[in-house]
């Protein structure tokens, strides 16, 4: 019982700190890549206090619910959007020998299933705001998340086939170095679809701030808006960690495994950096391009990967 509580507390601490680290990294990486000077000043050295300033800013803003909104649903939406990522973090293995919040038998499936629930929060936000741009954004979110869930699940299924298990620690245990070339297509599909699930640029059509203001989050202020942002950063953490665990071998590294968890964290942050990098460098896809990309590129690629995995699996067994 105590063990379980400790593990939950540890997952909570990770949940509360790592997304903030990713947020701060984003500030810095964007500042360097785009020559933005603003975030470099707050607090002196390299703008270390920028995130603190952001937090204070969010906390002091008034929490407004629009008069025409559906109060209860409007207020619940950020929580519904944020909590799935916390629950998912519990099941992601960080190191060998049970270094995981809670080892779930069908962990891969659990993770994908729970992540899918976050859509409901965004739909609730979009609808309850009583704002046509919010509704439009919410509907775009739903359409996008439904479309990209399929390639994500298919790519994950390929890894499960290769490892012969659905358990996340089991998959990392079964990892061999040649998985990286073997599952490369799947890794690409999974990571790209994960990026789209997060609605990060270049897949941020649902929140396109220059066209539909901020999509489902238009009417949100203060802490509730911060929760949505936090869920985005927690999402980066989850997607990067999952990609690292499924496709890059988790705690396996070139050096001996006694510092295994460090490899997982390093890979996760490297992938998070790629996520930020893509945001800074790619233009936004148009809505129809977005959908087309999912259905005509990612899903066929995922199916190809699935077939490839099956063929090689039969060949080597």
């Amino acid at each position: 019982m105590l063990d379980t509580l400790l593990r939950c507390a540890a997952a909570l601490v990770v949940f509360l700190t790592f997304p903030l680290i990713i947020g701060q990294t984003e500030h810095k990486v964007m500042a360097h890549m785009q020559g933005r000077l603003g975030p470099m000043y707050a607090g002196g050295f390299h703008g270390w206090a920028q995130l603190v300033a952001d937090g204070v800013k969010f906390a002091q803003k008034e929490d407004i619910v629009p008069a025409g909104a559906d109060r209860r649903v409007f207020q619940l939406a950020p929580a519904v959007s944020l909590l799935p990522y916390l629950i998912v973090l519990l099941a992601i293995p960080v190191g060998p020998d049970g270094f995981v919040g809670q080892a779930v038998d069908a962990g891969l499936f659990f993770v994908l299933a729970v992540m899918g629930v976050g859509v409901i929060g965004k739909l609730m936000a979009g609808w309850a705001s009583a704002n046509k741009f919010s509704l439009l954004g919410g509907l775009r979110t739903a359409a996008q998340l439904m479309s990209y869930e399929l390639p994500m699940v298919l790519a994950a299924a390929s890894v499960a086939m290769a490892a012969g298990t659905l358990s996340l620690p089991g998959i990392v245990d079964a990892f061999e170095w040649y998985w990286i070339p073997w599952q490369a297509i799947g890794a690409f599909v999974f990571f790209t679809a994960g990026l789209a699930e997060l609605q990060r640029p270049p897949f941020d059509m649902p929140v396109a701030d220059s066209e539909i203001i901020f999509g489902a989050y238009t009417e949100y202020t203060g802490l509730r808006f911060a929760f949505f942002l936090l869920s985005e950063y927690a999402g980066i953490l989850v997607v990067s960690a999952l990609t690292a665990v499924l496709f890059l071998g988790g705690w396996h590294g070139p050096l001996p495994d006694d510092l295994g968890w460090l490899w997982t964290v390093l890979k996760t942050f490297a992938l998070a950096f790629v996520v930020i990098w893509l945001r800074v460098t790619y233009p936004r896809l148009r809505e129809d391009q977005l959908m087309r990309f999912a259905w005509t590129v990612l899903i066929p690629l995922a199916l190809v990967q699935l077939a490839l995995t099956g063929v090689i699996k039969v060949a080597i067994s």
Partner: protein
């Protein structure tokens, strides 16, 4: 089902009784009450989107029930398919068509008494069946009976044929839905508007003429252009 239960452990005779429930059984009943309550709210509330959201609660509660029965895999399937997809589709459809904030006076159905009778009859049949089948049987849970391995084994070893038949049935339903939704109305099927991935053109406002863009692929298909859809149009009988 029987194979699943066989994997779950021996069916014990009435060594235990209803009067001494274990903790899991109590939790199971409490969650069941919550599911029933949210399901009732879902069908009685006058606010359409709230109904769908209560459905989320009810289906989530069902997933918890599956977990309590150690059927882990089924629980996650429930979450992935029903919470993550079906309810989202329902919400999507509702919000796209009609979902005012507040009450919808036209949401009342004229045949709600018929619906109530049908629902009660269905529930009565199922409850009677279940009580009759498992009257005094206790199944030992917790022996990994509902694990992914056990589910997969029973599904793909003993129940492959029904599984495949169901798949074909669902596929037929899917194709039927596509045909109905595309050719159900009167008149022509509207042409898809979007172009290729690279060569799509923004659709102009109807009042103003869209200036023809210069370039090799000028002359984007207009919204009413039926030509691209001609090959994909299902045959219609009139």
């Amino acid at each position: 089902m029987s194979a699943l239960f066989a994997a779950a452990g021996p069916l014990e005779p009435a060594a235990r009784s209803f009067l001494s429930p274990t903790g899991v059984e109590i939790v199971f009943l409490l969650v069941g009450v919550a599911v029933l309550g949210s399901a009732l709210v879902a069908v009685t509330t006058k606010q359409l989107v709230h109904a769908a959201l209560w459905l989320v609660v009810a289906l989530g509660g069902l997933a918890v029930e599956f977990l309590l029965l150690t059927a882990e895999f089924i629980a996650w399937v429930q979450v992935l398919i029903y919470l993550g997809s079906v309810v989202v589709l329902v919400l999507f459809g509702l919000m796209l068509t009609k979902a005012p904030i507040g009450r919808s006076p036209d949401a009342d159905s004229g045949n709600r008494w018929v619906a109530l009778v049908v629902a009660l009859a269905a529930a009565g049949t199922l409850v009677t069946l279940m009580v009759d089948a498992f009257r005094s049987a206790w199944i030992d849970l917790g022996a990994g009976g509902g694990s992914t391995r056990a589910t997969g084994t029973s599904l793909f070893r003993h129940w492959v044929l029904p599984f495949e038949a169901l798949s074909v049935l669902l596929l037929a339903a899917l194709v039927g839905a596509v045909v109905l939704s595309r050719g159900g109305g009167r008149g022509k099927v509207p042409a898809p508007r979007a172009g290729r991935l690279r060569a799509g053109k923004p659709v102009g406002t109807p009042g103003r003429a869209v200036p023809a863009p210069a370039g090799p692929d000028a002359g984007a298909p207009k919204p009413a252009d039926p030509a691209p859809a001609a090959s994909t149009t299902p045959p219609q009988e009139r």
